[in-house]
């Protein structure tokens, strides 16, 4: 596809730190190559701001190939921008037109407080994983890898859940700021595998309890999480988690 150069206007959320109120600022950028990624466009803006002795826009990013889950951003009101199954770092400027105004904001959720500009604190996700996102096996104690056959269908389905990159788009997309898709992806992965059975019910109770404690909202089956998930993780994992949770709660009062 041939390269074009476009002029764009940006409206970007600026917030000095956690306690600052924050506001939108407008910037104009001209001659943006359509071969640039969205983050490279932000790099260009930052270089321009630096040269003008202004503070560059802080944003999270790392691998820039759609797998680390570090990048975030609402772009024109959508987590990771307009394309389906694509993270912000893989979004390219060819998606936009000359003269466009692009609105860029951080994730909005009480459980993800803004740290600066477009950077939010997602450590609540880690704490949900600490609560039960593991199979308790110590190094060195494993049997031969082929000792337990796993039906290909189950392994493939577990893989689809395990693809979650923990970016938080599901929470950002949800009107309730629910973290159900994120939590369910891990619960479901282990529930589908024989290795995950021993702790299956204990795990779902612990992870859901932590999820609630972090202040994430409840699920009302809108499906925005799955629609905006850059890895297109299916809402059916939430159904599996709910079944397990119901079963766990009806037989245990451990947590």
């Amino acid at each position: 596809m041939s390269e074009r150069h476009i002029n764009i206007k940006l409206k970007v959320w600026r917030q000095k730190n956690k306690s600052d109120k924050g506001n939108m600022e407008e910037y104009a950028l001209s001659g943006v190559s359509t071969d640039m990624s969205f983050l490279e466009m932000m790099d260009t803006l930052n270089e321009k701001l630096t040269k003008e002795d202004k503070q560059p826009v802080a944003f999270d990013h790392d691998c820039r190939e759609g797998i680390c889950g570090m990048c975030s951003m609402y772009i024109n009101g959508q987590p990771h921008g307009p394309l389906k199954g694509v993270t912000t770092c893989q979004l390219h400027m060819r998606t936009f037109n000359d003269g466009d105004t692009i609105v860029v904001e951080p994730w909005r959720s009480a459980a993800f407080p803004v740290l600066k500009d477009l950077i939010v604190d997602r450590t609540a996700f880690d704490r949900i994983q600490h609560a039960g996102g593991f199979i308790s096996i110590n190094t060195g104690a494993a049997p031969d890898a082929n000792a337990i056959p796993v039906p290909k269908e189950n392994a493939d389905e577990a893989f689809l859940a395990a693809q979650c990159i923990g970016c938080g788009a599901c929470v950002a997309a949800c009107k309730n700021s629910s973290a159900m898709l994120f939590t369910a992806a891990k619960v479901s992965q282990y529930a589908l595998l024989p290795q995950g059975q021993a702790e299956r019910y204990r795990r779902v109770e612990a992870m859901v309890a932590q999820m609630d404690k972090e202040g994430f909202g409840a699920c009302t089956n809108t499906g925005a999480c799955s629609a905006e998930c850059p890895k297109e993780i299916s809402i059916s994992h939430i159904a599996r988690m709910n079944r397990d949770y119901l079963g766990a709660k009806s037989t245990s009062n451990a947590i």
Binding site: D43, T44, D53, P56, D62, R122, F125, P149, K152, F159
Partner: protein, 659 residues
């Protein structure tokens, strides 16, 4: 010269690790909880080490600069992990994996280390499966394998094109289990800016909280660096933007030797550079060479579109030059062959710095197989292609999607354009057989050390080494050191800590106070260009000398004219980057000093003066059969060379042949 003792145990190849494990001192379970260990970096090596050490009972503290340990760049590894399981019954064995890795590294690695790596490879797969890592499986429910470069057996385990992600999430889950039980304390968004050495032993680190800018002191009985490679010295690479050489470089300046810094892996199949705006390059997994065929037009300067070039005018140059291994030659060889074609005028695309990776024949082959399975007699071309594309999508879908996102082209219909890019550094901190650096109590695991890949790493071996070090080597060897140290806790307010903290703060303030005109980004780009042009795929004596003088000038410019906005007492991404670039400027210089010293070609280090008649790397075993370990003497570029001779007891090094 400091004596380098690699501590390789005596005995036969297969007994060395076994005997060594028995001879290592143990720390009894009640005493383990009295020892504190700091692990820096939470990729495969760091996460697996932290979890395994905590399970043993040590108090572990981890640091990572990302907002979560799960985001370390191991996450981006695509193709797979090698293990000598021989599940395919195709003749694999521990010895064959050892031999392939040693040969792939062009006989510049230690035999004993590589054999140990092959031995523990089988345990890694068991461990990961037990953690719930969803590897690809066959219909019978058992694990699937594929082939990778430099091997003639199928020993690579994989999870689509996201193997690194799945393995890292497995190691992260093991960390989480130990965070939950209190064995690990995890610090995120913290960057390590110095290593503290007390009485000649590593006793802690100085960290900067990247949210508040606060500089803090952390003490421990031992420090483990698992901070990955330093390839970002080249700027345009497949590394994550935050990957840096800072922790290992600051350890180097405190006395840890850097070994073979010039050994850089340039990966053959990356999406080519398109313009000045680019911030990184993206890898197309080596697994694509299982089914894809690499070619260039057989006519120079051919401007036709790929699909318009008839079969007879395509040069499948890897299959032509290396009939035995074909498209699956090791990375250094495939990269040089692509460069050779482009330099000779056969390159494609607008830059002419690209060759094709073509899936047409794989689509055809899979399409016919599928049609056969479905009982379609005499399928038409359209049916074959549709069925074939479905198979290719199932195997490599995420990689093809990524290509489409970046280039705006459809790789199912036209061949991908690819070119080599910097991907991995085989060099790193010098470590002995116990993975201890030349500073007692300071360890380096994974890509941060130099030990197992020689001058070229084979595909799917980085994940293997990171996890081998973290799960199965360090947990044994670190006890041997700790057993000989005092158990009382290490104070973090002694003179050494206070001095190190002050030096870090002074350095941060200095970066901000320069307030010049050159942005950090401009200097980093220039640095990358110097490295690529003078220390890239082809190196020469004159080019390296010129590169070193350019690097010194650039360092000068940085010190006098860099512009860092904002303050230290806030989240300041420019300041973070400036610190990393400052270290890269010195590290890059040492890489060129090392490349200049090594008057031979081996693996990824290709000195144009030293090549065979066919353009292959020409080693000089008589003079360079050693690991070059550089010792800091107080001034950049003036490091002292220490040599660790490589003794080949079991394998006879020969000219590598993949024909």
């Amino acid at each position: 010269m400091t004596a380098l003792n690699s501590k390789i145990p005596a005995g036969s190849l297969g007994d060395k690790w076994k005997n060594h494990k028995f001879n290592l001192k143990l720390v009894n379970p009640a005493n383990k909880r009295k020892y504190d260990i700091i692990v820096v970096g939470t990729g495969l090596a760091g996460a697996s080490a932290a979890a395994s050490l905590a399970e043993l009972g040590y108090n572990v503290t981890t640091f990572c600069f990302q907002d979560s340990p799960r985001r370390a760049h191991s996450i981006a590894a695509q193709g797979g992990i090698n293990a000598a399981k021989n599940y395919k019954n195709d003749g694999d064995s521990v010895y064959r994996l050892f031999y392939d890795t040693l040969k792939g590294g062009d006989y510049r690695a230690r035999e004993a280390n590589v054999h140990r790596l092959a031995e523990v490879s089988v345990n890694i797969i068991d461990q990961c499966v037990a953690q719930g890592v969803p590897f690809a499986r066959e219909y019978g429910g058992l694990l699937d394998n594929r082939s990778f470069g430099g091997a003639q057996v199928s020993r690579t385990f994989y999870a689509k094109g996201q193997t690194g992600q799945q393995l890292l999430l497995g190691a992260y889950s093991a960390m989480n289990k130990n965070i939950n039980s209190g064995g690990i304390k995890s610090f995120t968004r913290h960057e390590i800016l110095d290593i503290v050495v007390v009485d000649g032993q590593a006793r802690g680190v100085i960290a900067r909280d990247m949210i508040t800018g606060e500089v803090t002191r952390h003490s421990a009985h031992a420090v483990v660096l698992c901070t990955g490679g330093y390839g970002n010295v080249f700027y345009l690479t497949t590394y994550a933007r935050g990957s840096s050489g800072t922790a290992i470089w600051r350890a180097h300046k405190k006395g840890a030797m850097m070994a073979n810094p010039c050994y850089t892996q340039i990966h053959p199949t990356c999406i080519p550079v398109t313009g000045d705006h680019q911030s990184k390059l993206t890898l197309m997994s080596e697994s694509l060479r299982n089914d894809g065929r690499i070619w260039a037009p057989s006519k120079q300067g051919d401007t036709r579109k790929a699909n318009e070039i008839p079969e007879s005018e395509r040069d499948y140059y890897l299959e032509r030059r290396y009939p035995a291994f074909g498209n699956l030659v090791p990375r250094d060889i495939a990269s040089r062959a692509a460069k050779e074609r482009c330099d000779a005028g056969f390159g494609v695309g607008t830059s002419k710095l690209a060759v094709y990776l073509d899936y047409a024949s794989a689509v055809e082959r899979y399409g016919r197989q599928e049609a056969g399975k479905k009982g379609i007699a005499n399928p038409d071309q359209n049916t074959i292609e549709t069925l074939g594309r479905e198979v290719v999508k199932a195997k490599y879908g995420n990689l093809f999607d990524m290509y489409t996102q970046i280039t705006g082209e459809n790789p199912y219909k036209e061949p991908m354009r690819i070119y080599p890019a910097v991907h991995y550094t085989m060099g790193g901190l010098w470590v002995d057989y116990n993975l201890m650096t030349s500073i007692p109590g300071l360890y380096a695991c994974g890509e941060a050390n130099f030990s197992d890949h020689g001058a070229n790493r084979l595909g799917a071996s980085a994940l293997m080494q990171g996890l081998a070090d973290g799960y199965f080597v360090l947990p044994y060897t670190i006890g041997d050191y700790l057993a000989g140290t005092e158990r009382k806790s290490i104070p973090n307010d002694t003179k050494e800590f206070m001095d190190a903290e002050k030096a870090v703060k002074d350095e941060l303030n200095k970066l901000i106070s320069i307030n010049g005109k050159s942005t950090v980004h401009e200097i980093q780009r220039e640095l990358g260009l110097i490295m690529w042009n003078h220390c890239g795929m082809g190196r020469t004596e004159s080019g390296l000398k010129e590169g070193i003088s350019k690097m010194r000038a650039l360092k000068d410019q940085f010190q006098k004219d860099v512009k860092v906005t904002g303050t230290n007492e806030e989240l300041n991404q420019t300041l973070e980057k400036a610190g990393r670039v400052a270290d890269f400027l010195e590290l890059g210089e040492l890489m060129m000093v090392d490349a200049l010293n090594r008057n031979e070609s081996c693996g990824g280090h290709f000195r144009e003066e030293y090549q065979t008649e066919d353009g292959e790397a020409l080693r000089d075993d008589a003079n360079f059969m050693y690991a070059a370990a550089w010792e800091w003497t107080g001034e950049s570029g003036k490091q002292k060379l220490n040599k660790e001779d490589l003794n080949y007891e079991f394998v006879k090094p020969s000219q590598r042949s993949y024909k």
